[in-house]
Subunit: 201 residues, 2 copies
DNA sequence: CCGACCCCATGAGAAATGTCACGGGGAGTT
DNA sequence: AACTCCCCGTGACATTTCTCATGGGGTCGG
């Protein structure tokens, strides 16, 4: 019997996944939470074998949760389950100690299979996603460049970004310019979009 | 027995929802498709009482599907099931003939309840979302302003938008300017974001 | 028919954005 | 110690964006 913890902020999806997984005789859902910062406590209380983690959650995100779990509860392995097959997500997931990575549009058998393999100690990733991750490479952005791009996400002006980050306006423009050339965009907006697509923000 | 059709592009989610709904004794999932343009045919073949439609799908989107169904198969009522509680989505859903609107983070009983009520002939919407929809009002954007905003989504320059839409560059700027003032943004990028949030694109 | 509103366009000025060259300071490597 | 790379800044320039005024043509309802 494999004990499972489910973490996803969308209640309906969480319940639906629980129902789906309950169809497998060797699975048992022992915990179900809607916030990233509730996972650790729930895991300690229920001792699951595998934690299924969405990335986008209130509190802390699934990737960070995977890091915490691998530190504090190494006997509970993490599987990231997310909508987005962003290369950077996979990379960060693996670096933070996750053992599996499944995207939400894969067939259901694949999820069950991934869970069993991870429970057995294997590592599981979508081979296609793994390939594009290797092809894309890791983020070329420096910490500051990333900060500035994140701040620019809402359509913020250079002056506002400068104020928010306690920088001079010229510096902000320089960082943006550097980020744009690294990402291969001719626009601030385009740079944000692309970096986001790669999972670099 | 209520016959259901499921349409969602994410296979895992679709299967999970099917599993969840199968737990209710009075529900029967008779069809399940992953593309908007497959819904009509499947509905004609299986004669469901209620069609559960995601908005974001390849082919045509769920809102358009609802329109088609209400025209061609009025005995099959549509329920929109989506992640985003965008005011504009709800409005368009209702205008296109959908009978229910449920967001993916509502509790599972609410979905079952909504399905039963819609099957019984009622209309069902999240009251909170309905309120913000009324507050937000319908889109103030003209068709062209919308087009330009959509084209600007990828971080496209004014010149490129002009080329794509066979307009002069100045005209594009004028439309963008109008859109920005209507939406309450001081940026092109911000305008795109806000209009998108409202579901106006 | 007239007003209202949308479509499309031009042009011009103010503001923001993107590029480039340059500099100094700090941390880590070789 | 020299080198590299990141951090932060300045200043100047070309380009783009945003605003505003203005105009013609179209459709639709009063």
């Amino acid at each position: 019997m494999i004990r499972l913890l489910l973490a996803d902020d969308q209640e309906l999806i969480r319940s639906a996944l629980a129902a789906l997984l309950a169809l497998e005789e060797d699975f048992e859902v022992v915990a179900s939470v809607g916030r990233g910062d509730e996972v650790a406590a729930a895991a300690k209380a229920t001792q699951p074998d595998v934690a299924l983690l969405d990335i986008e959650m209130p509190g802390i995100d699934g990737l960070a949760v995977a890091g915490v779990l691998s530190q504090e509860l190494p006997e509970c392995r993490s599987v990231i389950l997310t909508t987005f097959g962003r290369p950077g997500y996979l990379r960060r997931a693996m670096e933070s100690g996750a053992r599996g990575f499944v995207v939400k549009d894969s067939p259901p058998e694949q999820l069950a299979d991934a869970i069993r393999r991870v429970a057995a100690g294997e590592r599981v990733v979508d081979p296609l996603l793994a390939a594009t991750t290797l092809a894309t490479g890791s983020s070329p952005l420096t910490a500051r460049e990333r900060d500035v791009l994140v701040a620019a996400r809402a359509g913020t002006s250079a002056a506002e970004i400068a104020e928010k980050l306690f920088l001079s306006e010229g510096t902000v423009r320089n960082y943006l310019s550097a980020a744009m050339s690294k990402v291969g965009a001719r626009n601030r907006a385009e740079a944000v979009i692309r970096a986001d697509e790669y999972g670099w923000l």
